[in-house]
């Protein structure tokens, strides 16, 4: 998989405030941002827009909505080749014990990494750009 230029990013989050903030920040860095407020809309947007990356909130309608959307995207031909990150404020401290740091975990969770809230846009961009 070769590194490719990221232009269009899909953002899925049911917290419309956070959604708008991240969108604004990414746009200020010159990215085109497509948003969706739940996993169903998120998958539709993914199919229509063919984004170069996807950032998905973990807990939306259901505790596992983010996992399922990740899985569905990674199962598509296009999804396999783009970075897909899970967004969460759940951490070890709050008792949700998972990460996606090893290859095995990434394989199992079907995402390329986990981004913790609140989002630091510079970190996010560097993660996306260094994805290979």
């Amino acid at each position: 998989m070769s590194s490719r230029k990221i232009n269009k990013i899909l953002l899925v989050d049911d917290d419309i405030d956070l959604l708008e903030q991240t969108k604004l920040l990414l746009e200020s860095k010159g990215f085109k941002v497509v948003t969706a407020e739940d996993s169903e809309q998120g998958f539709k947007a993914f199919q229509q827009e063919n984004p170069d990356a996807a950032i998905i909130d973990l807990i939306m309608e259901q505790m596992d909505s983010g996992f399922i959307l990740c899985y569905k995207i990674k199962k598509t031909e296009h999804g396999k080749n783009i970075p897909v990150y899970l967004l969460t404020s759940a951490t070890y401290e709050t008792g949700f014990k998972f990460s996606a740091s090893t290859q095995e975990e990434k394989e199992w969770i079907k995402c390329d990494g986990i981004i913790h809230k609140p989002v630091v846009v510079e970190e996010l961009i560097s993660k996306l750009e260094n994805f290979s």
Binding site: D14, D15, D17, L18, Q21, T22, L24, L25, S28, E37, D38, I59, M60, E61, S89, A90, E93, T94, G95, F96, K117, P118, V119
Partner: protein, 493 residues
């Protein structure tokens, strides 16, 4: 008897002597009874236990020695003297053999007589003391024996498991609970325990055995037991020292902590969820403020104002959440100290509606009240009932449609007061209904988007209803409306 006045029996056929000794002894502070012949002497001496008896040897009817024999037979601890003018060595021996304490030769002076009686009373005290000591010792021995079997019975029947092993890892003692908590079908005294105990417990025992010095402290470990690890057991292992200070073995007590573990998990899940729910609004507010402060983003005044407004709204929801959480914790503490008074449900509904008037007007909601006449009051905490009604009615407003309707009815149903709140709102999907009363559950679908809430309102309602031994039910059709029915028992004290 000996502590108060000593009882003395005089048996003598000589009237003058009877009366004289009686008066003499009474002056000395004794209780005196007299018998004028042998027959009467036996009758008195056997019917009551005297401290001291003075028996004349020669009496016309029955011989003094026979009287002595009869009295001693019934009351062996009565100290008996034989009094006689015909003192002979042989009768003295015989009398002593039968059980006489002493011989009082006639005639005697009052001093001599009193001295003998005093000696007799001293002897009587000694006899009684030794009797008491003997009885006490016998009782102690009996208690010791029954104590052992009682201890055994207690240890066998307690709920905690007890297992004692010696230095060679052999079973010394165990009870039935120990078998249960170790998931063992049987154990034999003297059997080697190695390989039968869970690894974690074995490790601790080995640790105790490997220590050079015995530290008299318990080592505790929690371990899962059973085919499916269904039992969580806490084992406390304590070294048992011998009198010389060396290690005799280890006593292991086992407790079933499965239920505590379950509660611990529920509690930590709740804390996780609280943390998550608190973090979301904080992250949103922080995000907005960072954007406003970030000069390079250069957002316009209009947008800035919008973001500040949205921050304030998130702060409000955060405050609501904290208040709800405080309510829940207060409720957990409060069950013991709530202030019960007569509460009229209709009054509570009416005053709550006043609070919600503005919100209802915004959506142009029609509110219909169907209150039955003669509704009795209930004994309840006004704050709790107000909270319950407020949460229900505010949901009915929040999740209602424009120009919708709320129907509130109060009625009596046998021993229950029934409150029904029916709205024409977004309604619930079947799968949403089951989770409705769980903490932090909020029905999330396209119709509820944009409605804020803490996810605790209905769980608080349920807690309140449960605490009054009432019930809450929900009927709902997605897109049509929802109806909550609460039943609270009347006449509760």
């Amino acid at each position: 008897m000996i502590n108060n006045k000593a009882n003395i029996l005089i048996v003598d056929d000589e009237k003058g002597l009877r009366l004289g000794t009686k008066r003499l002894l009474e002056e000395e502070g004794y209780d005196v009874a007299t018998a004028e012949n042998g027959e009467e002497g036996i009758k008195l001496g056997t019917s009551k236990e005297f401290d001291v008896a003075v028996i004349d040897l020669k009496m016309p009817d029955i011989d003094g020695l026979d009287v002595l024999k009869e009295i001693k037979n019934v009351h062996p601890n009565t100290v008996c003297f034989i009094a006689t003018a015909y003192a002979s060595y042989d009768t003295a021996i015989l009398a002593t053999r039968i059980g006489a304490y002493g011989y009082i030769p006639k005639p005697f002076t009052p001093e001599e007589f009193c001295y003998q009686i005093e000696q007799g009373i001293k002897q009587r005290k000694l006899i009684l003391d030794s009797e008491r000591l003997k009885k006490e010792r016998e009782e102690n021995l009996f208690e010791l024996a029954s104590e052992k079997s009682r201890l055994n019975a207690i240890i066998k029947s307690i709920n905690e498991g007890v297992l004692v092993i010696n230095k060679n890892n052999e079973v010394v003692y165990y009870n039935y609970s120990a078998l249960k908590f170790l998931n063992l079908p049987d154990l034999k005294i003297g059997e080697n325990i190695t390989g039968k105990l869970p690894d974690k417990i074995c490790a601790i025992i080995q640790k105790i055995f490997s220590k050079e010095k015995i530290l008299l402290k318990s080592y505790t470990v929690q371990t899962e037991v059973g085919a499916n690890n269904e039992l969580i057991v806490e084992a406390a292992c304590t070294p048992v020292p011998q009198p010389d200070g060396t290690l005799a073995g280890v006593v292991i007590t086992l407790g079933n902590i499965t239920e505590f573990k379950k509660i611990e998990i529920i509690k930590s899940q709740f804390v996780s969820m609280v943390a998550h729910e608190l973090k979301a609004p904080l992250a949103a507010i922080q995000g907005f403020l960072n954007i406003i402060l970030n000069v390079s983003l250069n957002i316009d005044k209009e947008k800035e104002k919008d973001y500040l407004k949205r921050s304030v709204s998130r702060l409000k929801s955060l405050t609501d959440l904290v208040n709800d959480l405080l309510d829940i914790s207060r409720m957990e503490i409060k069950t013991k100290q709530r202030e019960l008074e007569d509460v009229m449900l209709a009054d509570v509904v009416n005053s709550t509606l006043q609070f919600l008037e503005l919100e209802a007007k915004k959506k142009n909601l029609t509110i219909e009240k169907q209150f039955e006449g003669n509704i009795p009051s209930i004994k309840a905490d006004l704050n709790e009932i107000t909270r319950m009604v407020t949460n229900l009615l505010s949901n009915a407003c929040k999740y209602n449609v424009e120009n919708g309707k709320i129907i509130i009815s109060i009625s009596v149903l046998q021993n229950y007061l029934q409150l029904v709140v029916k709205d024409t709102g977004v309604g619930l999907k079947a799968e949403e209904k089951t989770k409705l009363f769980s903490e932090f559950y909020r029905a999330k679908n396209e119709r509820t988007r944009g409605i804020s809430g803490t996810g605790l309102g209905l769980s608080i309602v349920k807690r309140i209803v449960d605490s009054y031994h009432g019930s809450i039910n929900v009927e709902s059709e997605y897109g049509v409306g929802t109806s909550f029915t609460i039943k609270l028992p009347i006449n509760q004290n």
